[in-house]
Amino acid sequence: MRAGSEAYIVIGAMLPEITDEEIVRRTLSDKEAFALLIERYESKLLRYLERLGVSVREDREDILQNAFIKAYKNLNGFDPTLAFSSWMYRITHNEAMSSFRSKRSRPQVMLSEEGEMLITELQDEDSDTSALAELRLSREELAKAFENLSSQYRDALVLRFFENRSYTEMSDILEVPVGTVSTLIYRAKRALRSSLPKQFSL
């Protein structure tokens, strides 16, 4: 690794309070500072890509590499009124969608342990929560149900329940109004329930 970028990573580790926006400003005059942003978001975005259904590690890395280069090219277009993380998630999301389209491939969902939050969320007021609690929904069953969802529903659920993004952040990432985000989540949950095995369908 280059000495300059290594130095920035060390500085970033020592001074975690340096904001993303400050690093963006620094990157515009010294590209090595961009390494710090890459370090900050690499693992989060790789995990996000996996949740979006990019199942092959090399593909995830390639997509992320392209996403970072695109972000660098468009740094002057970064709007400081929104969080850098939202902007970076947006670029990564769009790159992933382009990759699916160009390879004509379907997302292959692999969900990790964080699915619990979504399962809890699926228990709405009308459901028999005690019955659901007794049933154990396996990760594979949830992943299978996820695969049956349309990509926009899947994206909404991943951002909300796996990436823990707020509605405003989701609005900035998916480039839709906040009202549309809540509608998407509501419909996505309903669609997911109907895709679950019979005993979980509420």
């Binding site: 690794m1 390494a35 890459i38 590690r57 660098y72 109004p177």
Partner: protein, 286 residues
Amino acid sequence: MNTIHHQNQDPLAKRVLGRITDDHVTPRPRWEFLLKNYVFWGLGALAVVCGALAFSATLFEIQNVDWQWYMVTHTDFLSFFLSAAPFLWVSALTLSILVGYWYIRRTAHGYRYPLMMISCGAIILSLSFGGGLHVLGFGEEIEEMLGDHPPFYRPILVEQRSWWVEPEKGLLGGDIENVASGTASLVLRDFSGQSREIDTEDLRDQDLTALTRGETVRIVGAPTTATSSTFHACFVLPWKKENQKNKPSPSDRAATSEQRVGERSEICKNIRSYEKLHASEDGEDE
């Protein structure tokens, strides 16, 4: 989880920075983003202006089309509606609003505004601005200026005139050239520029009002035949709407050779719209 490791084990940051250096990637200048944003806002605003122009032309058409005489010029309301409704302008208005929405949606924060907010905003702006243009009298100019260009479209006033150059259907419109005193005839230059002799024997007081003023008129009469060059007039209607409700003034009455009241001849009673025109006359008299 896929356990195959990437061939390139270098950290991602190193690979990204390496590509940035090798490919000479540089951040695009800020003005490009600003320009794009301004252009999109500008095009969105332009679309709203186009919508306003289309709406003022729509209002002009609605206000100036002869809704009240549809039973004279057309066989039924549907055929009249199809030939008179401002489809072009309503389509242009709709298209402008959609284009405006598309551009505004693509501005820096455009995605944050709900569809309803942008659409309603574009509609309200187009309608209020267009309504203002119409009130100021620009509707007609817009209708004629823009309406002249599409090859498939005729401005409504031109279209409307064409309905009244069909003597074989008993419809004739034009300017009165000469009213011969003491005779029951006049000469009319129709909208196609042809002078025609009009037999006014069957006209009544209401009809004569417009004639004596020398206005542009429309005449409903008995269809001409191949053997007759004279058009037999049964009803005379003023061309301009604002004059339609005018009653004959004393001077108008004095200018006519005699006062004529009562039923018209059998020739007129045979025309398709006789009953309706006659009934509307009675309505005015009451």
